[in-house]
């Protein structure tokens, strides 16, 4: 079931678009903001309010890589694996994270703290390598800095 605040936010988005369906991505984002990921129930909720079928909603949800259809940790590490970061050695960062957290891409730490995901270019190539943790961007990273950075997120 959608919470009141989810519902209000989604309804606001619906008012902005000519047909309800067009608010689908926004609605998915709203549900994800509240619940961190979009479960099957979340898909159903969005489908109900937008008068779509669950298949229709899930078709859209599964297309986009930043709609999470599986549980994720409290914090999401998006490691840029694109070309400038490749040249500047993102793989070292990756190894370091794997070592620090013991998780591979797509996995979540056992304590539910972090999920590690690869991410295409973060658009900060002049400060490669880079990664984001939640909303925070870290640039010109050296692997030695990682431990302190991750420590900020509990």
């Amino acid at each position: 079931m959608l919470t009141t605040s989810e519902k209000e936010q989604i309804e606001k988005e619906i008012r902005q678009v000519p047909v309800k369906k067009a608010a689908c991505i926004e609605a998915l984002k709203i549900v994800q903001d509240h619940r961190r990921w979009v479960s099957d129930e979340g898909i159903q909720d969005v489908a109900d309010i937008l008068e779509m079928s669950t298949e229709e909603v899930d078709s859209i949800a599964t297309f986009y890589n930043l709609i999470f259809r599986q549980p994720v940790g409290r914090h999401i590490i998006l490691l840029c694996d694109s070309i400038s970061c490749y040249v500047m050695g993102y793989k070292e960062l990756h190894q370091q994270i794997v070592q620090l957290l013991g998780i591979q891409y797509g996995q979540t730490t056992l304590d539910g703290r972090f999920t590690l995901l690869p991410n295409p270019c973060l658009g900060t190539c002049d400060h490669a390598p880079a990664l984001m943790v939640d909303h925070d961007l870290y640039r010109d990273l050296r692997k030695e800095e990682l431990e302190n950075i991750l420590a900020k997120y509990t």
């Binding site: 000519p18 047909v19 099957d40 079928s53 298949e55 899930d58 599964t62 297309f63 986009y64």
Partner: protein, 904 residues
């Protein structure tokens, strides 16, 4: 027309087409996947690549997708150029990278578009050496298998299921090369048209699950051109047999009727042919001593007919020929229509409206072109499913034309058209008591008691023609709705008005006639389509006969003591006590039918009749189109066509009315002579002596295998193939290998085209008529000189009767039709038969707990059913699911009296 140059040769082709269609129509073998003649182009698969050239001097050219390029005057293209040939080869190579190469165990093998295209492009060597991606499959219910690893991502499935047929529960998930086509979770596909996926999918992802349970390769089946018996639309089908059982039904293209598709009732409802309940041998009852000898039984029946006073009861699910033969056997005066009286009344009314009125009843193909649709008291998805698919296309038409003009695109540019049209739909109104699956497309829906809805419909007709009496006492909202609908009707060029038997109230049909006639009077070109209950209801009505209730009178008065029943379970024609009484007056009940049913239990003589698969015959659809179906195989036992039983009995009894008639052509000739309105039936298909290059047309593909071994367990010498004295078709693989006349095409096949897509080779233009014209003949054409007699009596406003409830039928695609219920998957999908739906307030007032057993009375007979609340039913109106097996109440609508509710 435009002249285009293909590899420097000029051709004249139609402008509205794309280059792929043009090439296919010209007979060129150009591979494709994502394009579909009914669904247009999206350019996804890139398989149909060709070269285009700027002018004669351009030697380099440019690769384009032929499905995405319009035919234009002087366009120069090459199909054979090396680069595009190589590109097409590469595309197949790519599609095969993840394909499991499991043709040997794939149901599609041998009828697979992907196989055909692979061979056509010459792709024979696998360069890809890495691991394949794999998917998990889903359980999609009783009708379809799912094997996603075979997917080539052409997107046809979702385009058909979602875009064309309006299904909700199939989609594409994920992105890149992980895209997955299926449902969100396992479960039965909900669409009534899901089975088409098996044909729309060019590979073995979606295959027919009912076929799998008795699997046979396409080339190992014996086929005949046939007609679906599932409802009054009469879709054309190909039925395939092996070892004496029907294995599969596939679409048989008919440009005017069903086009490329079938509904699931039609596709899967064939299992009754293979049922263990089949009557295989003639029998005398109660048990006859010794082996029943056919001649003995025929003589027995002949004696009964000679000595007794016999009547015949025909059937709306039997052919014209069989009904006619019975009529002749007992004499016209003693022939009764084997329909319920209400079905008879509706069908007679429909026939009168279509025969006497000035308005044309359209084919499904014509319906798709309607620019306004009005449905009165009919749930076509459940009573005539393919009509719903046609209406769906019609509702797309009107906004499409605007969009196409504005944006300068052609109808086949499917994605662009859908984008330009957005959610816009053509004007479409539904007046119906219950919700219907088409409601989601409607501009406006009106619900209410049937009488009140019919009054609105009469009010509409009055607005169109003042000579029709006005309807008074409408609410403001109703008056506005009437005005809206009238305005939409007048704004349209080709409005389509649909009504039929489904509600049980004939005033809907009368109002529909009024509306269409009034529009006609104003110079419009309306279309009027009326559903009738069964596959040959209209044909039987054209043949004519007495009402069923008069049969009871005749028996009661002792004017008859012997009944010959043709392919009919009379317990489906009137309430149980009525039929019980009918039988109690009869000394002899002779049943010619295929299945042991309730009527068979009462019969004294049983004669095994061929189903559509074991008989030749003609039926007339709701459009008045007579269509011929052909015997697929020679059945085991003494099963034969009902009409042949009649002929043999007549012979034995010396009944001159059928003297000397032996074959299908004979009986058809006799029928057409006796009944001039059926005259065209003789022209439906070439007669039995017809030959192509001196040869018969084979029912079996030339690769048919195992003939010498099939019955080796019984006898090592190969049996002589059966003769077919009735038709130009042979029961073997020998015969003429070229293209047969359209009505005689058993299956679509062409060299290099083993899948259903071979149809392209048989059409005058892609998506158009078959060569020589689509099969079938319309028996009803509007009368130019018709004098219009409007129906003048609108029903009175609906008033609930205290202590009573009006009981209405609800028809269901899965459940209401008798024979299709022998298919397990269909029976599983059918509704519960003991539910009586009522308005919750009625339940409350009568103190009935929802879910409790409800006792009520009809004509002094009491019944018990499960009270099920339903919000959309008006007060005082109840409904039950119509046509379910063992239902004892069939005479609907009728008035029921409340007794009490008991707790169980």
């Amino acid at each position: 027309m435009a002249t285009i140059y293909i590899d420097n040769k000029p051709f004249d082709v139609k402008n509205s087409k794309n280059l792929l269609e043009a090439c296919l129509q010209l007979g060129l073998d150009l591979p494709y996947f994502c394009w579909h003649p009914a669904m247009g182009s999206v350019g996804a698969c890139r398989q149909c690549a060709i070269k285009t050239y700027k002018d004669e001097d351009d030697k380099k050219g440019r690769i384009v997708m032929s499905c995405m390029e319009p035919v234009k005057e002087n366009v120069r293209i090459s199909v054979n150029d090396i680069e595009s040939t190589e590109f097409r080869n590469q595309i197949i190579g790519l599609l095969m990278t993840n394909h499991p190469h499991d043709c040997a165990v794939c149901d599609e093998g041998g009828a697979c578009h992907l196989q055909d295209m692979t061979v056509m492009t010459g792709h024979s060597y696998r360069d890809y050496r890495f691991t394949k991606r794999t998917h998990r499959n889903q359980d999609l219910g009783p009708f379809l298998n799912h094997e996603m690893n075979r997917c080539i991502q052409c997107y046809r499935c979702v385009r058909f299921y979602k875009d064309y047929a309006g299904g909700k529960d199939l989609n594409v998930f994920a992105a890149n090369n992980k895209v997955f086509f299926g449902r969100q979770k396992d479960g039965k596909l909900e669409s009534e048209f899901s089975g088409n996926l098996a044909e729309v999918c060019p590979t073995g992802v979606f295959t027919d699950k009912t076929l799998l349970s008795h699997y046979t390769r396409k080339w190992d089946m014996t086929y005949a051109p046939s007609i679906c018996q599932g409802c009054s639309i009469g879709c054309n089908i190909s039925a395939g047999e092996r070892y004496g059982s029907i294995r599969q039904i596939t679409n048989r293209y008919n440009g005017e009727v069903n086009g490329y598709f079938l509904c699931d009732r039609g596709r899967y409802g064939y299992e009754f042919v293979n049922s263990s309940q089949r009557i295989q041998h003639p029998a005398l009852r109660p048990h006859h001593n010794g082996t029943p000898d056919k001649d003995h039984i025929i003589n027995h029946v002949a004696n009964k007919l000679r000595s007794g006073k016999a009547i015949g009861i025909g059937s709306p699910r039997a052919s014209l020929e069989s009904n006619f033969a019975l009529r002749q056997l007992v004499g016209e005066k003693h022939f009764y229509l084997g329909m319920s009286d209400i079905d008879h009344d509706h069908t007679a009314l429909a026939l009168k409206i279509l025969r006497d009125g000035p308005v044309r009843t359209p084919s499904l193909h014509e319906m798709e072109k309607a620019d306004m649709v009005l449905i009165l008291g009919e749930d076509v998805t459940n009573t005539a499913p393919m009509m719903a698919l046609a209406v769906r296309q019609a509702v797309r038409q009107e906004p499409m034309h605007d969009a196409m003009n504005e944006v300068h695109i052609a109808a086949w540019q499917d994605a662009a058209v859908r984008e330009a049209v957005q959610e816009k739909k053509g004007p479409f109104f539904i007046l119906n008591t219950f919700p219907t699956p088409l409601d989601e497309l409607a501009t406006q829906i009106q619900r209410g008691a049937p009488d009140n809805l019919a009054r609105l419909a009469f009010a509409i007709s009055h607005q169109l023609d003042a000579s029709i009496p006005a309807v008074t006492g409408l609410s403001d909202a109703e008056t506005t709705l009437v005005a809206t609908i009238v305005e939409a009707l007048l704004a349209a060029e080709h409005p389509l008005i649909i009504s039929g038997f489904g509600s049980g109230y004939d005033s809907f049909m009368k109002a529909a006639a009024n509306i269409s006639w009034a529009l006609h009077k104003q110079g419009k070109q309306p279309m009027l389509s009326l559903t009738v209950p069964e596959c040959n209801s209209l044909g039987l009505e054209m043949l004519g006969g007495h009402r069923l209730d008069s049969a009871l009178d005749v028996l009661r008065h002792g004017d008859a003591d012997t009944i010959v029943i043709l392919e009919n379970d009379l317990y489906r024609r009137a309430d149980k006590h009525v039929i019980d009484e009918l039988f109690s007056h009869a000394k002899e009940v002779i049943l010619i039918d295929h299945l042991y049913n309730q009527t068979a239990e009462r019969a004294t003589v049983i004669l095994p009749a061929g189903t559509f698969a074991e008989a030749d015959g003609t039926i007339v659809n709701n459009e008045g189109r007579a269509q011929r179906y052909f015997q697929v195989f020679v059945p085991k036992g003494e099963i034969q066509e009902s009409w042949r039983w009649c002929l043999q009995i007549a012979q034995a009894a010396g009944i001159h009315r059928l003297n000397g008639l032996m074959s299908l052509d004979d009986i058809t000739w006799a029928m057409c002579t006796a009944i001039p309105s059926l005259e065209l039936v003789q022209q439906l298909a070439p007669h039995a002596e017809f030959r192509m290059a001196g040869q018969k047309i084979p029912r079996e593909p030339h690769r048919y295998s195992g003939r010498t071994a099939m019955t080796a367990n019984e006898n090592v010498s190969e049996p002589k193939p059966p003769d077919d004295i009735d038709t130009p078709l042979s029961f073997t693989m020998e015969g003429f290998r070229g293209e047969a006349p359209a009505p005689l095409i058993p299956f679509f096949w062409s060299p290099g085209w083993n899948s259903v897509q071979a149809i392209n080779k048989f059409q005058t233009e892609i998506g158009g008529a078959l060569h020589g014209g689509d099969p079938g003949k319309r028996l009803l054409e509007p009368r130019k000189d018709a004098v219009i007699h409007f129906f003048t009596e609108a029903p009175e406003p609906y008033m609930p009767i205290p202590g009573h409830v009006h009981l209405m039928p609800i028809y269901q695609i899965f459940g209401s039709e008798e024979l299709s219920m022998y298919t397990r998957g269909i029976a599983k999908s059918a509704a519960e038969f003991f539910c009586i739906y009522m308005n919750p307030e009625d339940l409350h007032e009568w103190n009935i707990e929802p879910g409790a057993w409800f006792n009520f009375e009809i004509d002094g007979h009491s019944y018990v059913m499960n009270a099920t609340p339903n919000n959309w039913l008006p007060r005082g109106i109840a409904a039950i699911n119509a046509g379910l097996p063992k239902a004892e109440i069939v005479d609907l609508p009728q008035c029921i009296r409340f007794i009490h509710s008991s707790t169980v």
